[in-house]
Symmetry: C2
Subunit: 355 residues, 2 copies
């Protein structure tokens, strides 16, 4: 046995999905703190070999036995699968870090962003820690840093969400639609895009190529979408501000990966752009990229494939010295999903005695 | 001579541009209130024949003589051309309706949206009436209707602006970039889009295909862009609310035509969604398209080529009974430019004695 035998065992549940693939990349890039890394997926993927830390690892089936000897299990699976199997993993002795929506608002499950509320990961009466939704995660590290200094009072957020927020099906749908519209005059008369795209709408209610779609998730009360409610509820929980006013409109845009958000953030007292920039320039996990006169502001094209939350267009509201305007951009598959889950797992691993 | 000889003479200055073409369509579709329609453009277009009201009309050169006998002149030309030639047209006896940025904030020039402040068109000491910027126009009819009932107190706006807001060059650039990215795996690693697009960025500072770009216009003080200041200043002027707090972030998206905006609008007192919907459903120039559970919300694909301001996603802010959230969508070449200019010209024509 190598030295790895003394290190904690990690399971990756949902290793073959869009987020799972990025998880394996991240585990290969980060400090090698894990003993065995076990890859778990649905029966149809069993026997597939995936590469992690430069080694081929065979995928095993999701069953009770798969969690034997596992110390930490990262889940990226549909809500109903997480709801069924996370308690099984916990019963077998694992701490579960879950990236689904199943447990995020459970009062007995902490919702953790390591740069913002790492302490919360220690209090986990169900043995489960949840990682927020990708849209929340795309802005919350930057907002957490500003909140720590200025005290947040209100958020108004609009999203520019990438197709990969809807998984591989989202990416495939956008690419297929792009092939249908490129080289045409489409996008110039009412309904022409819908006719051209036909049934190739995938997980989206309307064409996304050459379009923007102000809807993500499922209908909730009073006209709200589930993703809008999610961003509000999760921001409050992560920031520890259960009464924070948060107004969100979620909009899908024809971008492959990297969510962007405009944020109007009002604070307890007067703020200055200079101090806000200092905070953002030094906050862990944040890159300040903000010099429009020199062409510097974040876009998905810069941000995709990178870890940090990128922030640009930092302005103080002209009519309210307590409010800032920001444009925030983050890779929804990395910090928005796989990276944050891996960071939480690393927090838990640090609790184990050093080998 | 036909009956047209008794009707006012209209000049269209900038008849060959992206907006000019739509102006000619609109003049052909609207009630035929004009006598002669004279088409004026830069010297390189002189002699071209364009169709309006089913007849071919030859383009004449922009010079002083071109305005002889003109009653109303609609201008869609660059700011500096408008600044030079609008006073010439006025000196020759025409009322100028200008769609450039040259006069919009001039205190002696009214800024008119016929559904919102038609009365303002009568007070024009310089003989010039200005039409707002396309981004302002994409939301202001809906906001004007809500303001009339509820009294607006604050706006927070984020835009999703189409490529054609930057004219024909914007459309051509987006189409060229789409051809470069369709059928590829681009949009998945940092900088890959920039490398693929190379010098084909046209009027945009970054690739717009598979991207969103949080910048429109030129740099102003304190990190603001000229278009953001424009939306603020013009909204205040059209609504007659010179102190209205307005926070705007302008973002370009890969859509050919039709600007979208998310709007957080705070009013003087409590509002209800039911009453807001009634107002929007009956307001002239507005279409309420708002039933997400049935897949009904406006997108550029529905709205392009149509006249009204489309409004959907009407919600009351969950934490503020005085605020509404809206998603607003309008054709930036029609109501956003040519249509509003034509509507103002028609207001002026109505002042002339009936033939």
């Amino acid at each position: 046995m190598t030295a790895r035998a003394d290190k904690p065992t990690l399971a990756v549940v949902g290793a073959t999905g869009a987020v799972g693939s990025v998880m394996l990349q991240i585990l290969s890039q980060h400090a090698d703190i894990w003993g065995e890394i076990r890859l778990i997926a649905s029966p149809r993927s069993v026997g597939r070999k995936l590469t992690v830390r430069g080694e081929e690892v065979e995928v095993v089936a999701l069953d009770e036995e798969a969690f034997s000897g596992v110390d930490v299990a990262m889940f990226d699976v549909p809500d109903e699968v997480a709801r069924q199997w996370a308690p099984v993993a916990v019963a077998k002795g694992a701490v579960v870090v879950d990236n689904s929506g199943a447990f995020r608002m459970d009062p007995d499950v902490p919702l953790v962003v390591p740069e913002v509320n790492p302490h919360a990961a220690r209090v986990r009466s169900r043995g489960i820690i949840a990682s927020p939704h990708c849209t929340t995660l795309s802005m919350i590290v930057a907002l957490g840093a500003l909140h720590a200094e200025f005290g947040l009072r209100e958020l108004v957020v609009s999203s520019y969400q990438a197709a990969s927020g809807a998984g591989r099906a989202g990416i495939d749908t956008l690419r297929r639609q792009l092939s249908l519209v490129a080289g045409t005059e489409l996008g110039t008369s009412p309904g022409d895009l819908r006719r051209a795209v036909g049934e190739h709408t995938g997980p989206f209610p309307e064409p996304v190529a050459l379009n923007v779609v102000p809807w993500a998730g499922s209908p909730r009360e009073d006209g709200w979408s589930s993703e809008e409610m999610t961003v509000r509820d999760e921001s409050r929980k992560v920031l520890g501000l259960p009464e924070l006013p948060v107004a969100v409109t979620c909009v899908r845009v024809p971008v492959v990966t990297a969510h962007s958000l405009t944020v109007h953030a009002r604070f307890e007292g007067e703020v200055t752009v200079d101090r806000a920039r200092e905070i953002l320039a030094t906050a862990p996990g944040v890159v300040l990229f903000d010099n429009p006169a020199a062409g510097e502001f974040p876009t998905p094209a810069d941000v995709v494939g990178t870890d940090p939350t990128w922030v640009g267009r930092v302005r103080r509201a002209l009519d309210d010295p307590t409010a800032l305007e920001l444009f925030v951009c983050g890779d929804n598959l990395r910090k928005g999903a796989a990276l944050n889950t891996a960071q939480i797992a690393e927090l838990v691993a640090a609790e184990f005695p050093a080998p």
